[in-house]
Amino acid sequence: MTALAEPRRGLLGVARRAAVVGVLGVLMGGLASLAAVGFVAAIDWLNDVLRVSARSRMMAGDWRWLPLLTVAVPAAGGLLVGVVKRALLLADRAPGPPDVIEAAQRGHGEIRARDGVPSALAALCSLGSGASVGQYGPLVHLGATIGSAVGRLTPHGGRTLGTIGIGCGVAAAISTVFNAPIAGILFAHEVVLRHYSLRAFAPITVASTIGFVLANFVFGGDTLFRVDEVPRVEPFEFAGFVAVGIGGAFVAIAFMRAIMAAEWIAQRSRLPVPLRPAAAGALLGIVALWLPEIIGIGKETLRFTLIPEAFTPAELGLLLAAKIFATALCLGFGFVGGSFSPALVIGALFGALAAFGAALLIPGAADSMSAYAICGMAAVTSPVIGGPITTILIVFELTRNYELTTAVMVSVVFSNLVSYRLFGRSMFDEQLRRRGCDLTLGRDQLVLDRAPIRPYVSGDYEIAHSGQSPAALRASLVRAGASEAQLVDAAGRYRGTITLNDVLAALDAGHDGPADDLASWDIAVLRADMSVLAALRQAESDRSGILPVLESADSDRLVGVIAQSTIVRAYRETLGDLRREEHAAP
């Protein structure tokens, strides 16, 4: 029983539950939010000190070491990332949002601090030194790490509370950095948990609100981008927003494919793994000498896309390609960070470019460039994170503009439609699929695939020994009231199944050899290390009621049997746990 799973009746019970939800939500949300604020402040500070931010570069002026620094900082940052990953991380891949999603989907709710802390450190080195990666991926992972730890450390916490904690941490992080509490709640549900349970909803809402309160009233938050003036959108421009959505999907797919291609190239390069980020950093810095826009998160570029006069179409096209290249390079070659903020910049550049295109057909479209840029931003970002509703809500909460949100909604829906068909649900899901965690069929399959069949194996079965006579076997089967026996050799290895029917038919035919001849290998034989899902699939091919279970894929030792009806029970019970978690009372 978990702390959140004891529904007690009565006023006292209600008060107790409200208190538990409140305290846990505040604790998880508060800590995750503080971590997010600290993380962002540390990045900003590093960017100023290391002359990555535009402001610090301007203030450095014509300082003659500036070009050298532009190349040296990302290269040194990359080296540090390589060292941190090698020394502190268990794998050479830093965990991120996909791992958060996996932990929540598998239902174990565990994100180890052992992974989370070095990963945040590596992300800080990456972002601080100006790598073209996003800050939200690491923030989501950091928030989830904190929430999971609090959940699991709570007395009687366990798996369920760990999972709820992940949701709380993620929601608080998003709510804090975007100043968008509703989007935080939706992100946790749409992207991470992927189901709505009242039990998780309450603490996640508390956590998200705490994030918002801390960001706004305590720290006076600085948001990603501000939109002071929102243009009027003409009704016929919605056709343009549909086009931006469809085009945005292709840009998003190109972006995601570019990252994967860069990973592929990096793996095939002869560069040692720890040196890869340094090489990418150096290359990034060299390109940045001509195109300073590509380093860092790109806040200024994002802001400029909202100004019609800021770019020529050619500049937009060049920057769009350069930013995709830079991000793919950094992520593919081992910098640690997300893909969300680069996707925002790429999307905004695409949207602004689309506005120039629209202006050829729709008079006045260039004046509402900021609307196109924001639509492009949402159209490219939502398929990358797999969160259409979250993206719409982020835009709504940042702009507080109803018309613009409606326009964004149109783009986002069409973009996701196209991208889902041609690529998949999101970058995260694709990364998970590649490491064998397929979420396309939903959470049920994933959990069934993880639930072991072993607890359902029964030891109640008849054994036929090698060399035993059919008559003796008949006697023992009749005595036990069983319809089949499992033939094992002297070492206990399974040699086949003998049914009572076979024994009777053999005796009728006057067979006098050992019963061994009657045994046939059951094609639906199960292994004890199989999952419920695999057992279920295996059982479909068998028409008998009882299946022998062998020790493992490489050992034929018989450990027991399992009835088909028991497999169905295992299926029902596994899903029942899931349903209870999803439909439990708050």
Binding site: R55, M59, D222, D228, K299, E300, R303, I307, F311, S370
Partner: protein, 364 residues
């Protein structure tokens, strides 16, 4: 070392204002300040009262911004000033260049209720070389007679000579012009300096200025702004809010301030390196930044005091009898799109900004 030396001096000298022996009249203290209504307000609020209390006479010198005069002073050719009233941007720059003496904030007087000065001044008022004493703001005002119909009320209108015709009397410095140019694209104030730090932002700003190039009448001395606005053919002028207030409210000119996009900044006292009257200068700064002195200045000019204890006591103008609070730059209704001048940014980018600005001027 310098800090240590300053601290030693403090130990030797009594901190509270000493009463000089009557009879021997001390040498006057030279204070460089901005002339016009502003200097008049300082005379009323600080200079006369200080001389009365300490017996030290005060002489003022005309100062119109920048650090050049102080630089020349170090080289031995500059004016013989003791104290200079500089904008925060110039003050910080002069401090960094070593043109001002180090200043120990412990010299400052506590608020009347005993709150130490360090907590009474608003955040960011202290520097290594001095202390900010008021908040003033660069705004633009228009001549009501020029716009009998629709009146300008946003920064954008300054850059629309088609809709709001007439000359624009602007200060011949990049300050505030770049900010207004970029904010007219809809850039939020909080993003301004980050965007101005990029080549693209700078280009956008100058492109906006191109629109009004042929309508500009340049001024350099802040006192000229008001005068230019009164002239026929000039419908806008940039300038300090206190001077426009003075012209409109005290002198009854038909001027109206556009508070949208006001660029506010602070003025700071600093002691000039090379001054022969360091102790007296310190004494003056202590006197002039006392709560009652700051309140006294608000009775003469619409600049907000930097001490919380003084801001609470802002009342009516000394002669015009109007409530001063709606005329203060810090009034909440003027803050919706106000720009806090990024003085740290200016302190380090000044030379390149000027260079670029000059190139733009020449390009016309």
């Amino acid at each position: 070392m310098r800090r240590a030396a300053a601290a030693m001096l403090l130990l030797v000298l009594p901190v509270s204002a000493p009463t000089p022996a009557a009879g021997d009249r001390p040498a006057p203290l030279t204070i460089a300040t901005w002339g016009g209504a502003y200097e008049a307000s300082q005379r009323e609020a600080y200079f006369l009262a200080f001389t009365e209390e300490s017996g030290i006479p005060i002489r003022t010198a005309a100062y119109a911004g920048g650090v050049e005069p102080l630089r020349r002073r170090i080289e031995g050719t500059g004016p013989d000033w003791d104290i200079v009233d500089m904008t925060m941007a110039d003050h910080r720059r002069a401090c960094e260049l070593g043109l001002l003496r180090r200043f120990d904030r412990r010299v400052l007087a506590p608020a009347p209720d005993g709150t130490p000065a360090a907590r009474d001044f608003i955040a960011g008022s202290f520097t290594d070389c001095g202390v900010a004493h008021n908040v003033f703001s660069m705004v633009f005002a228009f001549d009501e007679r020029a716009f009998p119909g629709a009146r300008p009320y946003r920064v954008e209108h300054l850059f629309r000579p088609d809709a709001f015709p007439g000359g624009r009397a602007l200060r011949k410095r990049p300050d505030a012009l770049l900010e207004w140019a970029l904010i007219s694209y809809g850039v939020p104030p909080a993003d301004l300096y980050n965007l101005l730090s990029t080549e693209r932002g700078m280009r956008l700003a100058f492109r906006r200025l191109d629109r009004i190039r042929e309508h500009i009448h340049w001024w350099s001395d802040p006192a000229d702004a008001v005068e230019l606005l009164g002239q026929p053919g000039v419908s806008f002028a940039s300038g300090y809010n206190g001077r426009f207030f003075n012209a409109a409210v005290v002198e009854g000119m038909p001027f109206e301030i556009v508070w949208d996009g006001q660029v506010y900044e602070r003025d700071a006292w600093g002691i000039v390196r090379g001054s022969a009257h360091v102790e007296r200068a310190r004494e003056f700064i202590r006197f002039a930044t006392r709560t009652d002195s700051l309140v006294r200045q608000t009775r003469h000019i619409a600049y907000g005091p930097t001490r919380r204890s003084a801001a609470r006591q802002v009342g009516e103008h000394a002669t015009a009898g109007v409530d001063m609070r709606p005329h203060m730059p810090t009034n909440p209704s003027h803050m919706t799109r106000a720009i806090e001048k990024d003085v740290a940014w200016y302190a380090l980018t000044r030379d390149r900004l000027e260079e670029r600005f000059d190139a733009w001027l020449a390009g016309g």
